[in-house]
């Protein structure tokens, strides 16, 4: 029993798929957003889209940490990484994201910058301890799933008195982004498949406003095929019954109250920014973390001069529309042509959680645009 394979039963998936057809009014149109990029990939990897009734449209949400980082912040990261004293550490999938000058961290590395991939921010801290003569900077990217790891690493840096370590903080919060999507008049989402792993940290309560204020159901879901199908069934049942509640399909790891230790670390190390710019979504109030004043000495933005420029996305790239659920990847003119995983133009193609990367990897690029 590993609690993985059991949730991949084709028999169970087929049974839920049959049930889904009984839950929709024939000829109706139900738009569900899977918030998390991990869900997007699971859907296309396992071909779950083919099991859905034609009435159900899945719209892909902003829950892809790499995708939502604006180009200006990538330029800032590159400018820090190009300093000769700096060892710039990052998760691997940020390296190929192009900045405003079309220069990525990977290109900076090719030109001589010391850019290193780490698995965990703790690995970055270990590099700083091994190389006391260098400045080690960690590129903090990710939602509340990843932010606690950065927070704990900074608590550890303080405990150990590591002075040559700092964090370039780009951590973001999921709930304000969902509110921005709900407030956008052009995207009308009927219900949300709630993110699984971010909810292990924040719990299910931060989604209550979606049900209460916007009257839309939310079902937090796991990442195996039957988890996602079950969550869609629960959403369709709520919609059929005229309900709007927050349900938790992923109870095996998500508690309603989240993870108190992780939340306490976030609270201590970070402060919420007045606003933070998201790729495609623009500035969203209270949607990003900065490093709290008590930890300012470990804040790379305090330690190094960064350009801090706001850079428009390239016109040809429709990442912004994809992230807001306004366009499917294959509706973008450069999808699979000028923009591929090997030479990406937009972040949605770079990240292993990006919707464009999922469509490309699992062969959804030959689909016709629905009339």
């Amino acid at each position: 029993m590993k609690y993985v394979d059991e949730y991949r039963s084709a028999e169970a998936a087929a049974a839920i798929a049959t049930e889904l057809r009984t839950l929709v009014e024939p000829g109706s149109h139900v738009k569900l957003m899977e918030v998390c990029g991990g869900h997007t990939h699971a859907i296309y990897r396992h071909g779950l889209d083919a099991l859905l009734p034609p009435e159900v449209e899945l719209v892909h949400g902003p829950g892809c940490p790499v995708c939502v980082i604006p180009m200006g912040r990538v330029d800032d990261a590159v400018s820090i990484a190009e300093r000769p004293e700096v060892i710039f550490t990052s998760f691997g999938d940020m390296l190929r994201v192009p900045g405003g000058r079309r220069r990525s961290l990977l290109e900076a590395k090719a030109r001589g910058a010391d850019v290193r991939i780490v698995y965990s921010p703790l690995d970055a801290l270990a590099i700083a301890r091994d190389e006391p003569g260098r400045e080690v900077v960690f590129f903090g990217v990710g939602f509340e799933t990843t932010a606690p790891a950065t927070a704990l690493t900074l608590l550890r840096a303080r405990e150990l008195g590591v002075a040559n370590f700092s964090v370039f903080c780009n951590h973001v919060l999921i709930a304000p982004a969902l509110r921005a999507i709900l407030d956008a008049p052009e995207t009308q989402i009927d219900g949300f498949v709630g993110p699984g792993h971010v909810s292990t940290v924040i719990g299910t309560r931060p989604y209550d406003f979606i049900a209460r204020e916007y009257g839309r159901p939310v079902v937090v879901a796991g990442f195996e095929p039957t988890d996602i199908l079950q969550a869609i069934a629960l959403l369709l049942r709520q919609l059929r019954d005229g309900k709007a509640e927050v349900e938790n399909q992923y109870g095996r790891v998500v508690r309603d109250e989240g993870n108190p230790e992780a939340l306490a670390a976030l609270d201590e190390v970070f402060a919420v920014r007045d606003d933070f710019e998201w790729r495609g979504l623009g500035p969203i109030p209270h949607s990003g973390y900065r490093i709290a004043d008590a930890f300012a000495v470990w804040d790379a933005e305090e330690r190094f001069e960064v350009p801090g420029a706001r850079i428009e996305d390239p016109k040809a790239c429709r990442c912004g529309d994809v992230l807001r659920g306004m366009a499917k990847p294959y509706e973008c003119g450069v999808f699979g042509t000028a923009c591929t995983p090997e030479k990406p133009l937009g972040t949605c193609m770079v990240s292993s959680e990006g919707a464009c990367a999922a469509y490309y990897a699992y062969g959804r690029h030959r689909q016709k645009v629905p009339a």
Binding site: Y3, Y7, T146, P148, G222, Q249, V253, N259
Partner: protein, 68 residues
Amino acid sequence: MLERLPDGLAKVDFGGVRRSVSIAFTPEAEPGDWVLVHVGFALAMLDEDEARATLELLGEAIDAELRA
């Protein structure tokens, strides 16, 4: 999870690959527990009762399908 290590770390077996991860956010985790790990941190412990409850629902879905 295989064993507790010093400094709030634990050795975890990822289906064959072993790595040390931080259990600062799951301080109650003991060897034998299943933990959900993200970027080197255990974020949650698997609740086996809840896991079985979800599986039972799946079993019911299959039964309903067979009866139909």
